[in-house]
Amino acid sequence: MSMKELGVVGRNVGQRDLESHARGQTTYYEDVHYPRMLHLKMHRSAEPHANIVKVDTRKAAASPGVVCVLTHEDLPGKKVWNGLAAVGVGPEDEPVLAFDKVRWRGEPIVAVIAETPEAARAGAAKVEVEYDPLPGVFDVEEAISGSAPALTAHWPHNHYIYPDDHAASQIRFGDVEKGFAEADHIVEDKYQTSPIEQAPMETNGCIAKPGGDGRITVHTNTQAVHFARDNTAAILGLAPGKLRFLGGTVGGGFGGKVDVAVEPISVLAAMRTGRPVKFKYTREEEMQVSSTRSAWRLYIKDGVMNDGRIVARKITSYQDSGAYLRFSSYGSMKHAGHMPGPYTMPNVWVDARVVFTNRPPSSAMRGFGVMAASFAIELQMDKVAKTIGMDPWQLRLLNAYRNGDMRAHRKVNEDAAMVETIQAAARLAGHELPAEYQAMTSWDRKAS
């Protein structure tokens, strides 16, 4: 693509918000002040897996300063939901407020709204829940082994079911078994990433403010205002036009502010009380209640030739979704679609599974699905290089995808510049490459 000469694109013009940040003048969602504002705190499940026998809110409601107590019985619209229901992802599986069962420690059960944050916290602590504990399952492979308790009726084997009754998001390209049979070496390993907190400096939160016109303005730090508004309206059974979502500058997101976790219940509380209601996650909630980056377990098996060509790659991966789906099926498809990384291989087989466990639900974070894939692939590449005694730089350059190559998901590759990027990094690091590797390009596989 030939670029016309550019004026201001490509120039360092500073960053618009910086002076405002440095002077402390930037307005975040909670920097608005409303008189008579109420505060919401959640009573959360103390058990990772249990039937709820009884919920008693009488003491909470009578607690000093408490104005309103909300349970699942107060929900005017949906009892269970999924944020992607509008684009056909389902079934909706996650209770807005838990009713018959809890499936993770920290699951919201009762919202307590009071005059001050302290009064709301004290009231929430007085909610009494009687549990009938159930055995829990925490490991992804144990969860799908057949001997674990099923978390929901939607997914009897504790894994997400893709269209056409598939247990995994699949890639089938070429014939990996044939590739393994032809290969000089088989290289296998197992990889594990951890649940990681997005840890934005500002925790999830919102303020729902009823207006005189019957509308509610929601000051929120969501990463997606329309998405949050439309889901809030759908959950509460409201006309979307009743809601105005207002963001602004957000105190960091990293994927941690897309769950619509605080807005629906705050709007409901504002409707019930007619007063502004603030619901701000504590740091403790941010760490143990809000979605983490999903932990991933991967098994990779490669068939490799003596000259370094990887002729087959088979990947089975397990994404720990925690107790509910949220965006995990999306993340798993992105993960599968990313395989086998920036390399071209004639035979690729991927089964990427979403597994349900009694852990806090996981979701997106910076590089959803791809970070775990890149981590495992790049450790695997080093193992392949070591196995066949090849320079790991040369191994990657030899296998790197070129423009015009067919990717494993059957799209012809374009905009590739992996070869040039690796070559430049080798120069930057002072790693000398043989002339034929320096001559490689992304535009001509034969050049070397």
Binding site: V8, F138, Q192, H226, G248, K334, F368, E378, M418, T421
Partner: protein
Amino acid sequence: MAKVRGTGFAAVNYPTGMHLGGDPTQSLIHMTPAGDFVCTMASVDLGQGLRTVLAQIAAETLGVPYESIVVETADTDTGPHCTGTFASRTTHRAGNAVVMAAAEARKAMLEVAGELLEASPEDLETDGAGNIHIKGVAEKSVSVGEVAGAAHFGYGKTIAGRGAYLKPPSPMDPETGECDPDSTQAHACTVVEVEVDTETGVVEVIDMKSVYEVGQQVNPDLVKGQIVGGSWMGIGHALYETTAPGYPAIDPAPVDFQNYLQPGAAEMPEVACEVLEYPAESGPYGGKGVGEMVTNGPIPAIVNAINNALDVRITQIPVTPEVVLRALDEKRAQAEG
């Protein structure tokens, strides 16, 4: 036993936009009576600088000064639909929507300028400094402010534009996985040197060098900000961070920054980076996107460097001192066994 050093690297690609597309962003741009422009979006700035980047793109297409563009964000009453700020999609999706809206507004602006200059709009050009003149005839010129005044008070015209960018959704074939997942791919390669204390298991990243390829950069300083910040976050992910140190067990469960460990300024090495630009066909002025990929190279590069330093095979993160010491124990046992 002492401190040993090792090097490692990793090569990564990263897709731009939501997987499988279907993620629209729209933009509205209008000219005020004073001749500046308001670009209204529902996109959300998380700190990466989208207000800056979108103003640059709008100014480029309109051919007016960057300073004359206001970018309004994150209001569902006024802002046209944006799917959201994630999936490294804002520069690409919102940027393309802004290009379209700005092109329509520019056309309207040049039509009014043409009437004032008694020339055909096709014969006009902008100088990027707030003036419109007949091509090759600099003195036949009118200011953008004069055009605004004429449009508003003389002709009763709006100078405005609409933009909508949508990569049509591509379903993923459930059997083969066939799909068109992304708009373009960005690339990175990170090289790391670590020093590992074999007594304590503590890993220190002492050097990190990266090359990125992100298409045409809209604002190189902001790209570098993402790379440096992501390098630090990559160190955190590789060596420290987890909400479940006993994973898959749910306890212990850190609830504060004393127990959820992240690197501090002291753990941050010098980060060198070089950025290559291979413009993307589908991007605004060839831009791809850089927001998310910046942790993906550092994490495996660090673990590869640790394995290189110790001649062990660690395949999990975070590589805490305990993980390092266990790997060394295993290596010792194997050597003895």
